[in-house]
């Protein structure tokens, strides 16, 4: 009984982290029409940044925010000076992000070595919460709370601001949006930076729970890919729902069928791509 409960709590915690990772991925995919194959790298690098900031004695939340800002800057620069050169050529852009994922992975290995880092959970958030006689690790619930807060903030941004309207227009139909005067090119840079920043922030938030280790990028990217394909490209609602679905699928799948862990994850993605390319909530990629 308590194993399933633990798995469930872990699943929603993972779901929360996946949302922080996938929301940006979904927006980038929806707006720029490319699966950003360095998104897992943003998550991992952000986590490593966080670890270094924490080592310097920075407050946990500050470290997370700073890491997000730093990654947003890096992401923005990459988009502005490298991806934009290949404007209109999606396939080369995807391959560019792939190349960068190798670069970042190796740089991280060089700088932070192969040992995993696990920063301590912030002092005030340790321990467990007791609800109805059951104990829930506090920090994992905090992760979910953070994800929900970010989700609300993103929703407000996308649905209630003019910037959000422009982003939605770009996701709907970039050429037309351009014609109407929306600076789609600048939006690309902004959204790419935002996605990178969110992923990095998520990486730091997740660090006390998942730890930070080489190869983490290669584990997180497929999850983001699956969440977004399942939930629909460009759909934040889809990313939210999909994140928790995949969180559960991943944890329970690992526990029950360790041999077929990857099959359980990727098969739904393949099925969706083949049968319903627009995902459960989103619009198609064409």
């Amino acid at each position: 009984m308590s194993l399933w409960l633990t798995l469930a709590v872990n699943s929603i915690a993972l779901g929360g982290l996946l949302f922080l990772l996938s929301a940006g991925f979904s927006l980038i995919f929806g707006l720029m029409r490319i699966p950003n194959l360095m998104h897992g790298s943003f998550f991992m690098l952000g986590a490593y940044f966080g670890v270094t900031f924490l080592e310097r004695g920075l407050d946990f939340w500050l470290a997370a925010l700073l890491s997000g800002v730093a990654m947003a800057l890096i992401g923005g620069l990459i988009e502005r000076f490298l991806l934009k050169r290949l404007s209109g050529q999606e396939l080369p852009q995807v391959l560019l992000t792939l190349g960068f994922s190798f670069i970042i992975a190796d740089l991280c290995l060089m700088i932070w070595t192969g040992d995993p880092w696990q920063p301590a959970t912030p002092a005030e958030l340790r321990g467990a919460l007791q609800i109805a006689g059951l104990f829930f690790p506090l920090y994992r619930l905090v992760i979910v709370a953070v994800a929900v807060v970010v989700a609300i903030a993103l929703w407000l941004l996308v649905d209630w601001t003019r910037l959000g309207a422009k982003i939605r227009a770009g996701v709907d139909d970039a050429p037309i949006a351009r014609m109407v005067g929306i600076p789609v090119s600048r939006l690309f840079t902004l959204v790419f930076a935002l996605g990178a920043g969110l992923a990095a922030f998520g990486g730091v938030i997740g660090a006390p729970y998942l730890s930070v280790y080489p190869g983490m990028d290669a584990e997180m990217l497929p999850l983001a890919l699956i969440v977004v394909i399942l939930g629909g490209i460009g759909s934040l609602v889809g990313a939210f729902v999909g994140s928790f679905v995949i969180g559960f699928l991943y944890n329970f799948g690992q526990a029950m069928f360790p041999d077929l862990a990857y099959v359980i994850l990727f098969l739904p993605m393949v099925l969706v791509l083949v049968l319903r390319p627009q995902g459960l909530f989103g619009r198609g990629v064409s």
């Binding site: 995807v94 792939l98 740089l107 890919l225 990857y262 791509l273």
Partner: protein, 328 residues
């Protein structure tokens, strides 16, 4: 005839050099590098059938490569003979290629890329996690290399000749394939799929057959690989390997047959050289990827032949001018 002579001469020279390689390269380390270049050239040529001639970029080909290698290795370990193991490996790889094709050819472009990526990951995950089947991270050992016509392939030189023979077969097969009417149809679907459909071609079937052809030779390359190393582990089926093969194709250039061969040579040599000094191959791989895609999208071969022809013409023009200047 004028344009053919230099090309045939080049092929002739290359053939002579390759055939006599073990005699002018005495060191078996370098002979082994040559074997690696040739076997990866087969894989690169195979991928280029889809990428260059079909316009379909796959990031899942390492899985086909590894499937052949693993099938052979596991069957050999179970006590089967080389011929049976190799035949079964190729047959199974063709089956997996067919499944890949049916699932991924629902789309083109980026969706095709993502489906092949996902399928490749599934197979990698099986190789890695389903340890009871594949021995997971421990990998599978291959005790001996086969004997061809009674000759043992255990030495570097003998194995080199075997790989060379397979490479030549592959190269000839590719040349025939791309020059054939079917090859012309495939190129047509790359450039104007909708138009080809209206002209009466079965675009899906053309791509499917091309995928099988590509999968076949990828599997053959995988067999060469597992015999070369006499060992196979899940890493060979990882996304990074698919990216390396793709890098071979795009660095050499997708528009020709020579391109992937040159690309394989470039990548294999670099990987060996760099790995000898420093553990930063991944970093270099990434940087080269970024550079080539950003600045030399046609690949190195078309780029350099353009420069070569440009330089040659400029030289001839200058010679003609100077001669005209000396006319009475």
């Amino acid at each position: 005839m004028k344009r053919r002579v230099p090309r045939f001469a080049a092929i002739g020279v290359a053939a002579v050099l390759l055939l006599t390689l073990p005699s002018w390269i005495a060191n078996s380390y370098y002979v082994n590098i040559a074997s690696q270049i040739l076997l990866w050239a087969v894989a690169a040529l195979a991928l280029n059938v889809l990428v260059g001639y079909g316009g379909l970029v796959s990031l899942g080909h390492a899985a086909l490569f590894g499937t052949a290698g693993y099938t052979a290795a596991l069957l050999l370990q179970a006590g089967h003979g080389h011929f049976a193991a190799d035949l079964a490996a190729i047959a199974f790889t063709l089956l997996v290629s067919a499944v890949f094709a049916v699932l991924s050819l629902r789309s083109t472009g980026i969706i095709f890329l993502m489906i092949t990526l996902a399928l490749g990951q599934i197979l990698w995950g099986i190789a890695y996690r389903w340890a009871s089947l594949t021995q997971g991270d421990n990998g599978v050992n291959v005790a001996t290399r086969p004997q061809l016509f009674g000759i043992s392939l255990a030495t570097a030189d003998a194995f080199y000749y075997a790989v060379l023979a397979v490479f030549v077969l592959a190269a000839i097969s590719m040349a025939i394939f791309v020059g054939s009417p079917f090859g012309a149809s495939l190129r047509g679907t790359r450039d104007q799929a909708r138009r080809m459909n209206a002209l009466g071609y079965n675009v899906w079937l053309i791509r499917f057959i091309a995928f099988l052809f590509s999968g076949f030779w990828t599997g053959v390359a995988g067999l060469l690989f597992v015999y070369y190393n006499q060992f196979i582990s899940p890493q060979i089926m990882a996304l990074q390997t698919s990216a390396e093969i793709l890098l071979m194709v795009i660095s050499g250039g997708t528009a020709t047959l020579v391109g992937p061969i040159a690309g394989a040579a470039i990548v294999v040599v670099m990987k060996n050289v760099i790995s000898a000094y420093v553990e930063r191959w991944n970093l270099v791989l990434g940087v080269i990827f970024v550079l080539i895609i950003s600045f030399m999208p046609d690949g190195l071969i078309p780029g350099t032949t353009r420069i070569w022809r440009h330089g040659w013409r400029a030289l001839r023009a200058r010679v003609a001018l100077s001669r005209a200047g000396r006319a009475p």
